[in-house]
């Protein structure tokens, strides 16, 4: 069975279980609190997933490190390469005044 089919099967089973509880299709006579809990579940899971995604993005933005040394080294190398190519007669396009600093791939220290 493919992964897609596995996911669809799992989602369908969960969906059916949710439908049974929410619409009381089997007349299970569940306590009212559990029925109250069940019916917003799809929206609740979506909101929780959204919160988790937002928190992950925010945390990784906050802990992302700049590498100043690597940036300076890179800019020196770019300058050196440009001068070298100018000597050999290549016309360079104008470079932007504020080159943004490169950032490291590392995240945690």
């Amino acid at each position: 069975m493919t992964k897609l089919l596995e996911w669809l099967l799992g989602a369908s089973l969960i969906g059916m279980a949710w439908g049974l509880v929410t619409f009381d299709l089997l007349d299970l006579q569940l306590p009212p609190q559990y029925r109250e809990l069940a019916w917003p579940m799809p929206v609740y899971l979506l909101v929780v997933f959204g919160c988790y995604s937002l928190a992950t993005v925010g945390y990784r933005v906050a802990t992302f490190n700049d590498c100043e040394d690597a940036a300076k080294e890179l800019q020196a190398q770019i300058k050196e390469a440009k001068e070298d190519l100018k000597k050999k007669g290549l016309k360079m396009p104008p470079s932007p005044v504020n080159r943004p600093l490169p950032v490291c791939r590392t995240r945690r220290k």
């Binding site: 609740y44 979506l46 919160c51 945390y59 906050a62 992302f64 700049d66 590498c67």
Partner: protein, 88 residues
Amino acid sequence: SEIDVEATGADQAVGFGLVGFSLSLFTYYTIWVIVLPFVDSDHVIHSYFLPREYSVILPGVAALILLLFVGTFIGVVTWKNRKPKKVD
């Protein structure tokens, strides 16, 4: 060798702000949806929460507004980048 410097102040402020906002939203919404059904209906905590139907309606409305923003943004950017006769 590479010396890692911390992310700039603005990045940290925005990042941790997002984390704080997400945690607050998660906590409030979890109490609303999961905890409240098991709390006596005459408890004072219920006065801090809207009727249960809004716990589904409000995220639905928020999603529609988000879609509206995204669609508008795409429309504006596409309109700005239109070129006469040919679109690259």
